[in-house]
């Protein structure tokens, strides 16, 4: 697999969304304030939803915005607000001299270049694996349900026929998670 350079509207919008997602993800990992990290996480989710939309997975994009950007982010922010985390406050420690700051930028495991370096090495390793893989031939585009069927219609038809049992199991998992979260966080000794 090679790395072709293709410039068109799809690629440009993909590059923009990918840049937003990557910068926000870097902030999630390195930002000193955990509330800011949570909001940057919402930005990552929205950018990834845009990429799903670009890839033609409309239902998944909507589900991503609803579940991740809507529910999970709000839940994380709730958890931050309900606990007194010391990362919420910025420690005012003055500005160290420039060289010292540069050094910290480069090597600090908390907010330095290290996460980026790690991610690039990881992505290159993965890309090397992909490049050595044997790719199946691309299947021809099949209209299974009918012409001009929307993505949501196909997803719905598959979800309730082929994947009906996993779907039901997923609902049980959600129920168990709901009950478990309530049991874990409910105050004790209140009969």
């Amino acid at each position: 697999m090679s790395l072709p350079v293709v410039i068109n509207l799809y690629t440009l919008s993909f590059a923009l969304l990918a840049l937003i997602a990557l910068v926000a993800a870097y902030e999630v990992v390195t930002n000193r304030l955990i509330t800011h990290a949570a909001f940057f996480l919402a930005l990552v989710f929205v950018a990834v939803a845009g990429i799903f939309l670009l890839l033609g997975a409309e239902f998944l994009a909507v589900a991503q915005v609803l579940v991740y950007a809507g529910a999970v982010t709000v839940m994380i922010i709730f958890a931050i607000m309900m606990s007194q985390l010391n990362e919420i406050r910025i420690e005012e420690c003055g500005r160290p001299p420039f060289t010292r700051r540069l050094w910290l930028r480069l090597v600090s495991s908390q907010w330095g270049l290290l996460p980026l370096l790690f991610a690039v090495v990881f992505a290159l390793a993965m890309f090397g694996l992909y490049a050595r893989a044997v790719w199946p031939a691309r299947a021809l585009l099949v209209d299974r349900v009918g012409p001009a069927t929307s993505n949501i219609a196909i997803v719905g038809a598959d979800l309730f026929s082929t994947y009906a049992i996993p779907f039901e199991i997923a609902s049980v998992i959600l129920l168990v998670a709901l009950v478990g979260a309530i049991v874990l966080t409910a105050k004790e000794g209140r009969s």
Binding site: S2, P4, G56, R138
Partner: protein, 108 residues
């Protein structure tokens, strides 16, 4: 449905997925705040979802198997976030710490 997809080279999307996963892995392994570790895990799950959808659209367009797998990943991720945050809240309530290096009661 898949008209515009083939305009983007698959390699670009795979690189984005790899970078996002790498950032999330770094955060999950090296940060010590429990809430931030949960957030990093969500990042990794998102990267995996991107890869699933990309492979689906490039290798078997017209089918939605990868997207349905992504939907299940989202479901399990939501459940995991709810349970994880509940556990963290309980730890904070009992011991008033969120640093996982200090939560080592079960270590030995």
């Amino acid at each position: 449905m898949t008209a515009g997809v083939s305009q983007i080279p698959l390699a670009y999307i795979l690189i984005l997925g790899g970078l996002l996963f790498g950032l999330g892995l770094y955060g999950a392994l090296l940060r010590t705040n429990a809430v931030r570790i949960l957030m990093s895990i969500e990042l990794m799950l998102n990267a995996v979802n991107i890869n699933l959808v990309a492979f689906n659209q490039y290798l078997s367009p017209g089918y939605v198997n990868g997207q349905i797998f992504s939907i299940f990943v989202i479901t399990v991720a939501a459940a995991e976030a709810a349970i994880g945050l509940a556990i963290i809240l309980e730890i904070v309530r009992r011991r008033n710490i969120v640093d996982i290096d200090k939560i080592n009661l079960l270590k030995w």
